[in-house]
Symmetry: C2
Subunit: 405 residues, 2 copies
DNA sequence: TCAAGTAAATAAAATATTTTATTTATTATT
DNA sequence: AATAATAAATAAAATATTTTATTTACTTGA
């Protein structure tokens, strides 16, 4: 699909030309630009740049956005602005969590056009679940009424371990011993890329706001579990098999809590949504008071409720968040010493706790990180929130089709 | 200098042509190659490749190495082999440690031609020490009788925090508030690049043997202190200011040992050469026996002696190494979970302990790392040993002059 | 409002690169 | 040893790209 848009028809185009075209599109995803700017950026002469852009306009992938109206100028002919076509081609972003699934339609600027959240979802490693998942996505695509030819690709973020090279999700939807991407490709007939949720959120942060400028940062996904995404020298660090970022299983506590990984004392046994719930119930058992009284609820109280109660000032819940934050800070101190990042971006559902969490993390950092790298590192609460995964999924597709596709 | 060799004379050469030439030289540093191979690798046609190579031969930077004699062939004209000129141009590698300084002459293949070790050296942050250092290096250059025009550059690895972008070493030889690279440039009149010793050793490992093939690995510099170098997705991770790798200051112990960083419980208080010495004396004080009897030595017993005694079977010293190894393994388990590296390369002077160390590290890893990433990761003892810094220093210079210079 | 100045876009000329064809060198086979 | 097969190196023709010059479009300031 993308190759047709880039002008690769029956006659073979040189790889170099194709690479240049991809580079132009990649550049225009994040910034509208003029011909001279584009040419300077790509080290091309204006005539060749113009020719390539003309071909891309003919292919329909780029749009002429009219003349640039710049307030500050020293005179001269006003250049035309070019940008990607945001109206005709789309990417499907899918975010598969344990108890919900989010589906987005993104345009070529990696902007969310539509986003739907299904909360009555239950992720499992079964054929039925795969079928349900596929039909939910299919319905969403149908509802938006896009021609299949206009779908550039699908990006999928899923919890658990994932090998991006093969599109294999090991923990969930691993059916018939085939990669998840295989099943999705069969159903949707477009390029499909699958990644771990934390990785994809990290990509989302990288393609948005502050993250764009940062060559080295760390994204903390504090949800039911605890994961970490690393942007190292500008690229997502995936490691040999794509398993990087399993921060929650660092040995940290001398506690006796058994982790899902089979070990004891993992950071994630206390520093995670799951850990918050465990600790909450222990506190209640010990007789501590909270506005969240288990007797008032049919279901087990979950970490979302604890976070909200803390925000509203509930002392017991606040304590839980603050203790968690301090320990997270203590452990992130090691990360700061190790990676000297420019920022730590706090994301995941627990990041909604906001300043309560941030300040306790900072106390932990202050105590345990080296002063020099600590000074280099900002602590930021993610502005993307739940959108991070979907934007990241879009970015994953754009990266892949414009690098290798 | 390098630009003259690359053929950049009075007439301006295009950046693209220069980039191609640099890419050819970069390729030929590690492998001798034929024209067709080079052209395929760089996506160039044979005629253009041939032309560029001819120019590089004229410039004297490349050599024709005669016909390739390949045992396995399907017939056909035998191609000529080309490689970098290893006879006329050199790089100076300098490795500055607390109590010794090593100076090497390297050829363009990043091979050690000559190596000299000065053990009566004492690194300090004084003008005198800078003067001594400069004259030691100058003598070494004079002794080898190289024309200054034939020195491509100087790479310097120094202990302590270093900002490579400016060549600033903060802890030592920081004189007149000017970067160390400035002082060296003044004295030696060639490009000078300064980096932290662990970083430069990591580069050394990357440019040698197994390291060349690895996209993700971690180098452990276990000497007097404990540092870590990270190759992430093929590039050295330096972090925002170049402070990355301060693994020794991760909070790890509940001990009361004060670290030089001012904190207590740092990993390096026990897991490091310095820590080994402290623990040794505590054991002796407690009445434990060892073939190393402090009464027999005038000077304080140092970690080199402890490592050697352990190798020779001394129980007390063996215990020290094994305890250290287990704790190092436990802490590296976090690194394996976090980075999913293909290998951990053990270097630094303590790595001479060899299998005793390796096996105890592996017990720690086995207990605390996640099985999947652990399976991905080999534990290797560095084969370069003390040469790592010098080879890394050479690689640093080659990288810099062939990327930006 | 009109020149003078500035910069983008286009056209023409000059280079550079690639493709294709040819020649040369080497190996394998008869 | 002669010939066919194979692949490198070179030469010639075909493309592509860049440089330079020219034209067009817009801004500024008299």
């Amino acid at each position: 699909m993308i190759n047709k848009l880039l002008g690769k028809g029956l006659d073979v185009e040189s790889t170099k030309k194709l690479d240049h075209k991809k580079a132009i599109v990649k550049l225009l995803i994040d910034n509208e630009n003029t011909i001279p700017e584009i040419c300077q950026h790509l080290q091309l002469s204006v005539p060749t740049g113009t020719k390539l852009i003309q071909e891309l306009l003919d292919g329909g992938i780029l749009h002429n956005l009219g003349k640039k109206d710049d307030a500050i100028t020293s005179g001269g002919r006003r250049p035309k602005l070019y940008g990607v076509n945001t109206k005709d081609y789309f990417i499907i972003g899918v975010d598969i969590q344990l108890q919900e699934i989010n589906i987005a339609i993104l345009n070529m600027k990696n902007e969310l056009v539509k986003k739907t959240r299904y909360t009555s979802y239950n992720l499992q490693n079964s054929k039925e679940c795969l079928q349900t998942t596929i039909s939910i996505i299919a319905d969403e695509i149908k509802a938006f009424d896009i021609d299949n030819n206009n779908i550039l690709g699908m990006g999928v973020g899923i919890t658990g371990r994932v090998k991006i090279a093969t599109g294999d999700s090991y923990n969930f939807l691993h059916i018939d011993n085939k990669p998840l991407s295989h099943h999705f490709k069969e159903s949707f007939d477009c390029p499909v890329y699958v990644e771990n949720d934390t990785m994809i959120m990290t990509l989302g942060e990288q393609s948005f706001g502050l993250g764009q400028q940062l060559r080295n940062f760390v994204f903390v996904n504090l949800s039911k579990g605890l994961g970490l995404g690393i942007i190292s020298e500008g690229t997502l660090h995936t490691g040999k098999s794509g398993y990087a970022g399993e921060f929650g299983h660092t040995h940290f506590f001398d506690n006796n809590r058994l982790c899902i990984c089979g070990k004891k004392g993992c950071l994630g046994t206390e520093v995670s949504g799951h850990g918050m719930e465990e600790i909450f119930y222990e506190k209640i058992q010990k007789g501590e008071q909270s506005k969240l009284n288990p007797a008032d609820f049919k279901k087990r109280i979950n970490y979302h409720q604890i976070v909200n109660a803390a925000i509203e000032g509930d002392m017991t819940c606040m304590e839980i968040i603050q203790d968690l934050g301090f320990n997270l800070g203590k452990s992130l101190a090691g990360i700061i010493n190790l990676l000297n990042p420019e920022a730590i971006i706090l994301g995941g559902t627990c990041a909604e706790a906001g300043d309560v969490l941030k300040h306790s993390i900072q106390s932990g950092l202050q105590r345990f990180a080296l002063p020099m790298p600590l000074k280099d590192c900002q602590i930021i609460i993610s502005e993307l929130g739940a959108k991070a995964s979907l934007i990241g999924a879009g970015r994953l597709v754009l990266n892949e089709i414009l690098n290798n596709g």
